[in-house]
């Protein structure tokens, strides 16, 4: 038994199709024909809520899934096709009560004005449980779906060009997040006054033009949607290198990283904290979560055997940007606590097979962490920010109480 009491961890799950293993859809529990129904998503997210998880993320993309990085493949043996993640989150929101809902949005092609009001509305329909995961699209085939711009074709050996292209896309994503956040603040919380005496519904002095001018776009504002319940819904991003670490440090509330051991976790967290300091955000809570793909079974060896069986079905061993864990809930709890010692405040687990590994998380891992005092035993807040210990931010446009 560990002698130091573990500090509580935060837990999220990343939902994508039937799970992260490309052959996951072939498991009997997967029910792949239901993938495009509301029932599929409601069932998964309600299961995550039964496990008291902080939030779910929902993957998305503006093109078909592919096993090749820069282009679509012609495979017929893997899940292809998906529904819009914001709409999935919204569809499930009224059927859940506590769990956070964090859909992926693609900054490269979508309008920040549309995203801002969509996530604000998700916050209204979920009464304070919305967030977003911002992602870039470096794929030229996805740019061709919009026809407004080209993105340089990124071939992996040519890393210098790739780095410049990716830097540009992340700069644009940073602008995107800035616009989205300003629009959330473009209404003060008490802008609606319903003053029958003067006939005014709003106090227009409490609505603000955001007047954003950037390299890629300019946006006037204000939003058409009032400030959402959380004030600022959660902003999250996955980060693999210096440029994305900077985006996380400057713009996010939660960053997901993919360390393979505790030393690497410690190193990445230090780099993010340094960037956070440089960005003048040192006093703000910024969670850094570790991302892991998980195969979970109670029987020792069963998870590894299951992965091998799925790999055989897929025709190749499964690899990932993130650490791929196979083992028991106890072993995973040990690993999470060890990685957390590197400075992580939580984890985003990617279930290899949703129908199997998600219940293994909620019914195996969660009780194990609870026994160790490392995870909540009841939802302790009504909003996603509340669950993550983030306060409701003041509105950047509102005059400070002192000067009011």
């Amino acid at each position: 038994m560990s002698s130091t009491p573990a500090s509580p961890l935060h837990l999220a799950v990343a939902l994508d199709g039937t799970g992260w293993h490309p052959a996951s859809w072939r498991e009997p529990v997967a029910r792949p024909r239901d993938l495009f129904t509301a029932a599929h998503w409601t069932g998964l997210i309600q299961e995550a809520e039964r496990g008291l998880l902080d939030f779910v993320t929902i993957e998305d993309g503006l093109g078909p899934q592919s096993s090749l990085f820069p282009a679509p493949d012609d495979r017929t043996d893997q899940v292809r096709g998906r529904l819009d993640a914001v709409l999935i989150a919204s569809r499930v929101a009224p059927l859940t009560r506590h769990i956070g809902l964090v859909p992926t949005v693609i900054a490269t092609h979508t309008e920040p004005f549309h995203i801002s009001k969509a996530i604000a509305t998700l916050d209204y329909v979920s009464t304070g449980r919305a967030g977003l995961r911002v992602q870039i699209s470096p794929r030229s085939n996805e740019a061709d779906h919009f026809g407004r711009r080209t993105v340089p074709r990124i071939e992996f050996p040519d890393l210098a060009l790739a780095e410049q292209a990716v830097t540009d896309l992340f700069d644009e994503a940073a602008d995107h997040v800035e616009v989205v956040r300003r629009l959330w603040d473009s209404w003060e919380d008490d802008a609606e006054i319903r003053d029958a005496a003067t006939g005014r519904f709003i106090d227009r002095d409490k609505l603000h033009y955001i007047d954003f001018e950037g390299r890629h776009f300019s946006v006037k504002g204000p939003s058409i949607t009032p400030r959402p319940p959380q004030g600022q819904p959660l902003v999250t991003a996955l980060a693999h290198d210096t440029v994305p670490y900077r985006l996380v440090a400057r713009a996010a509330d939660v960053g997901y990283i993919t360390p393979h051991d505790t030393a690497e976790a410690r190193d990445i967290v230090a780099r993010i904290r340094a960037e956070q300091q440089a960005a003048g955000r040192a006093d703000e809570t910024l969670h850094v979560f570790g991302d892991l793909v998980v195969f979970l079974d109670d029987e020792p060896g069963a998870a590894r055997a299951r992965k091998e069986r799925l790999d055989t079905l897929a025709g190749e061993p499964y690899t990932s940007d993130a650490l791929v864990f196979t083992g028991t809930p106890t072993e995973l709890a040990d690993l999470l606590q060890e990685l957390a010692a590197g400075g992580l405040t939580g984890f985003r687990l990617r279930p290899a097979v949703d129908g199997h590994d998600l219940p293994a998380i909620t019914r195996g891992l969660v009780p194990e962490l609870q026994r160790r005092g490392a995870f909540r035993s009841a939802y302790e807040a009504d909003t996603l920010r509340g669950l993550l210990g983030l306060s409701r931010p003041a509105n950047r446009y509102a005059p400070h109480a002192a000067t009011a």
Partner: protein, 456 residues
């Protein structure tokens, strides 16, 4: 034998950003909390309505360089709130107004296909074409679209969206766990579109949804707008709801259909209308007057006059006579982001007409706006309203109505409880939903089941 009775279509418009809403009424609730939308949608579904309707405006309206503050301001994102409403209803159609100028086909097609999957086939799209640079300031593309191109972009946008949605036929997903074939066809979703506004190609990534395509509404009123509706829409959201104007519009639009190889029943005409319901006709008349005075305050009346005069009229007394100066007819308009402004196509003539009307009836500015600014209002007891609505529909003034009550979110409750049963007794409105999809409710062919009459 008499002509068979037409079945009435009824829909509910969540009252939003306009002066229909009496937000100062103590019963008026939030226009933004989801509980308001859920209550409204559940009432519409309890009443077996065809669908719920949401309008949209992508920039807050301004007048005289300031954000307009006299009506409700603020609304949720259309797709997001409709997806959430799909969770609290089972049958009700979900119609969203989505602009074709400030969106892209790939995204809109994904959103409608997703909404259609997540609602089991209940999505509809009101394609609007507001093009102005004022709204454009909120978007990357800015205000680049000349007015003349709004319908050419809308038409191509809609066609492109259909190409994307049709790029999946519905039989591609095998999901055969034994053989390992998820897709029947590796190229599912392939599309190429080359046109004046869009030059795009690749793979669409949402499989075919229950309705295949959302039901398409059109709401513009110009000559081009009517042609667009006749060639491409399943329904029109119109503003002509009085008997005579409704009949004229109905005949005009339905007569445009044959040249596109379409039958009259392939395009439904559904005007916006409001209602004032009370126990007796006399009480309802009283109530309607009161509601109108609440909707048109003195300040609102002056602002409304400014749409026509295009001048700052704030120094005028709303209870006094109309201005004797003429409207400013320059291109710069005092009011921005407001579709109604375009209703007054000849401001000088309108001003003259209004002055004569006011003089003849001894109306103040506020009286005039109250008397002329009204949309179709069905006023009376439940029996009167049910009878009048049925008369209008049987007389081909419309195929039904999109009702905009003046109280949020409970404004539909009495209509559902009192008027709908009478329409059902008359055999002109459904007592149960007959099918799962919005196309079933509207009597429209499913694109995957029946070839369209236009065919070619």
């Amino acid at each position: 034998m008499n002509k068979p009775l037409k079945q009435i279509h009824l829909a509910a418009h969540f009252p939003g950003v306009n002066n229909t809403t009496v937000w100062s009424d103590p019963r008026s609730g939030s226009h933004i909390e989801f509980s308001s939308f859920a209550h409204f949608a559940r009432t519409a579904e309890r009443a077996k309505f065809d669908f719920l309707f949401l309008a949209e405006g992508l920039r807050l309206r301004e007048q005289g360089g300031q954000i307009y503050d006299l009506d409700v301001v603020g609304r949720p994102d259309t797709f997001t709130v409709l997806a959430a409403l799909a969770a609290v209803t089972e049958h009700l159609g979900l119609t969203g107004t989505i602009n074709s100028t400030f969106n892209e086909p790939y995204e809109v097609a994904r959103q409608f296909a997703s909404l259609d999957h997540l609602s089991g086939g209940r999505s509809a799209w009101n394609v609007v074409t507001s093009w102005d640079a004022f709204t454009g300031e909120n978007f990357r593309r800015g205000g680049f679209l000349p007015k003349e191109e709004r319908y050419s972009r809308a038409k191509e946008f809609l066609a492109t969206t259909h190409e994307l949605l049709d790029s999946w036929h519905g039989d591609e997903i095998l999901a055969d766990q034994e053989t390992g074939a998820f897709l029947r066809d590796a190229k599912a979703g392939s599309f190429v579109h080359t046109g004046q506004h869009f030059d795009i190609h690749g793979r669409f990534n949402v499989p075919r949804s229950p309705q295949g395509r959302p039901v398409v509404f059109q709401a513009g009123d110009s000559e081009e707008g009517r042609e667009f509706a006749a060639s491409d829409a399943d329904a029109i959201f119109s503003r002509y709801a009085t008997l005579e104007a409704g009949q004229a519009f109905y005949a005009d639009v339905k007569n445009r259909l044959p040249k596109y190889g379409r039958r009259p029943d392939q395009l439904l005409i559904l005007p916006a209308a409001t209602f004032t319901l009370a126990d007796t006709d006399a009480e309802a008349e009283e109530l309607a007057k009161e509601v109108r005075r609440q909707q048109v305050s003195g300040a609102t009346a002056l602002k409304h006059l400014e749409f026509v005069w295009n001048r700052d009229l704030s120094s005028y007394d709303p209870d006094g006579p109309l201005p004797d100066i003429d409207p400013d007819v320059s291109d710069q308009h005092i009011s921005k982001g407001r579709a109604q402004v375009r209703m007054y196509r000849d401001p000088l003539a309108t001003a003259r007409e209004w002055r004569e009307l006011a003089a003849a009836h001894n109306w103040s500015i506020r009286d005039l706006v109250i008397e002329t600014g009204n949309r179709q209002n069905f006023i009376g007891s439940a029996a009167t309203i049910a009878r009048t609505i049925n008369e209008f529909v049987q007389a081909d003034a419309s195929d039904g109505f999109i009702l905009v009550p003046h109280i949020t979110p409970t404004g539909l409750d009495d209509f559902a409880d009192q008027v709908v049963p009478l329409l059902q007794e008359q055999g002109v409105f459904r007592t149960e939903y007959e099918g799962p999809t919005l196309r079933h409710h509207l009597g429209l062919a499913h694109p995957d089941h029946a070839p369209e009459a236009a065919g070619v």
